[in-house]
Amino acid sequence: MKNFNWLALGFLAPALIVITVFFLAPVILTGIFSFTSMSTSTGVTGGEYLLNQSGLRALADKGLNQVTLDQLNNAGYVVDEQGLAALAEKHGTATADEMRKLHDNGQFSARRDMERALKDLKANKIRSTKDRKAAAELFKHSLLNERFEAEANFRVALVEGDIPIEDHEIIVTQAYTGWVWTVDNVKLLFSLPSTLRYAGNTLIYVTLTLIFNIGFGLFLAITTFYLPAKSASTFRAIWFLPRILPPVMYVLLWKWLTWDTGFIATTLSWVGVAPKNWMLDTSTHAWVVVVLINGSFGASLGMILFSSAIKAIPSSILYSSEVDGANRWQQVRYIILPHLRWPILFVTSYQTLSLLTSFEHILLSTEGGPGRATEVWSLAAYHIALDNYGGNLQYGLGATFAVALVIIGIIASLFYLRFFNFNEMVAKPKIEG
């Protein structure tokens, strides 16, 4: 290179920036996230230190001794500025000032004692017992349910609470609410029985849909080839519509067809079949509908590619076969199908890879149901990380599921590199910049 090609750099720059932020970074981050415990409850950016009742139970399970647990649990009462400020807010500054005069920095171990201390108030009595109880709570001083921004502060609080130093480590780990590095996701992936189920579902889904796609695509391409141009393009337009319609709209039509008040149920009720939901009644129903929805959507790709491949067959071959008396079946079997070998191979591989990772139509139609009968791998990843009923989105575990799909992405790209005749594509420019 004599001089650096600034024009090329300028032309490439926007794409490079976009691709770095939205492709490279996400792929790398997915890999990183899969080794963390990130979820809604841990947050993304970092955590704080908070010990609550369930944390205490977890500590007990981990074998922390009862004495320490009681120390953590038992609330002491301290008359400090924080509590006084809360008291001032509730019962007025005068009450707080009097309390400060009487019991500044007073410490009480039981609530009864604290309440008794509150009874000492003369000028500003808190009359009702209920109010006094509530006021006592204001001075409660405990590690439980108190938030600490930094680890150091939390440790200081532990020392102040006279917690034995050898127990600090386990308590700090338990109290941290942020995410941590872990390989639990990978272990979980291999130990959960549902993993196997998702893989099995994916296998069923891909195989059945693929057979439908390719078979039906071929059928459409060959039959429309034999029709006059006008009716051929009508049928092609009908079968192309599923691809062009927005997926939400397309799946809505299928829902209407199969709903318990929909077309099939209504028509069949005329002959005495009780109406039911033909999409979600049993898992067989769900699978048939899922395959039909995706199959009708995918068949158009085969149809278009096979149609143009058939058009490329030299017409002299077809004419001469007709002169030789070949019937239509023989023409298809011995001339058209052999010519379609490469397009079929291409569409099969392409569809396999895109079906493995596609889940939009299933999400919109059965949502993986009934039960989890139609929950495929990619849908599971989506549900775990981005949308589940429990509400706790497990980004880390979802990312682990997605990593499996990243591997598929890599296999796919190797396949494309083979297929797209890479060397021809990178032919040298003829004008040296």
Partner: protein, 275 residues
């Protein structure tokens, strides 16, 4: 071809297998403009009531339909413009300019082409939350445009590859810079390609469901696809006539574009995957 064969058996078979789709499309249109008794499919009255969602006040908790439509339009148009303008320059560089690591970039383009949305979306979801673009239209637009980009570059590169080298050589010979050659000589040659890509990305943006659903679930950035999904998912009232009317309203631009540019679109859908 095939004048020796009869057509009608094929037409009959094709009509039978196409029947479910034909029924769905036909009743989509019929049901939007008519009412029918509960246990029947036969319409008894022509009506425009189903479209009242267009002029009635929005229910509490739902976004205004016109605002949602405007969002969808902004989303689709901006995506299309960004994809086209970035693909226009990048594809030219990849197709015609010489620069270091050119092989690497081309290989990278194909690899990007193969990465499914689901592998990226979890991380993108977190990235948008960190940079503060979560639940905004701008954020979804950027993500959509980025994910659409490898395809756009790929298609545009195909169009540039078909422009004869002689045009550029003549331009360079006459003393024009490479930039001028691109702007004045090559771009007019690929105008049909830019136009086709523009339509394609617009449709793709108009139909997009998953990205807005995950990255902008709030009412402010709602688009028609998520609006319709929310309507269907609300199972307190299942009213297919309303769903279909909203769906019709949503799909009309798509169908109009499809009818006008049918052949162009079939080419790009087929060609996009073939390269």
């Amino acid at each position: 071809m095939s004048h020796n064969f009869r057509h009608w058996p094929i037409i009959v078979i094709l009509s039978i297998v196409s029947l479910p789709l034909i029924i769905m499309f036909a009743f989509q249109i019929i049901d939007t403009f008519t009412t029918h008794p509960i246990d029947s499919m036969i319409p008894d009255r022509i009506t425009f009531e189903q479209f009242s969602f267009l002029w009635d006040e929005a229910e509490t908790g739902r976004a205004n339909i016109w605002k949602v439509t405007l969002n969808t339009f902004i989303f689709a148009t901006t995506t299309a413009v960004v994809v086209c303008s970035v693909s226009m320059t990048t594809a030219y560089a990849l197709s015609r300019l010489n620069f270091p690591f050119r092989r690497f970039f081309l290989g990278g383009l194909i690899i990007l082409h193969a990465f499914p949305t689901v592998t990226l979306i979890i991380a993108i979801f977190l990235i948008l939350q960190i940079i503060g673009l979560y639940d905004t239209l701008l954020g979804v637009i950027m993500v959509k445009a980025a994910l659409e980009l490898p395809f756009g570059i790929w298609i545009m590169k195909g169009f540039y590859d078909n422009v004869p080298w002689e045009i550029e050589m003549a331009g360079v010979q006459d003393g024009a810079s490479r930039f001028t050659v691109w702007w004045k000589l090559v771009l007019p040659q690929v105008q049909p390609g830019i136009f086709a890509l523009m339509i394609f990305s617009f449709l793709s943006g108009w139909s997009e469901f998953l990205l807005p659903q995950v990255l902008a679930p709030g009412n402010d950035a709602q688009v028609l696809s998520t609006y319709l999904t929310a309507l269907i998912a609300d199972d307190t009232k299942i009213d297919f006539a309303l769903f279909k009317a909203v769906g019709m309203f949503y799909a009309i631009p798509v169908i109009a574009i499809y009818l006008i540019f049918q052949n162009k679109l079939m080419n790009i859908y087929g060609g996009g995957t073939k390269g």
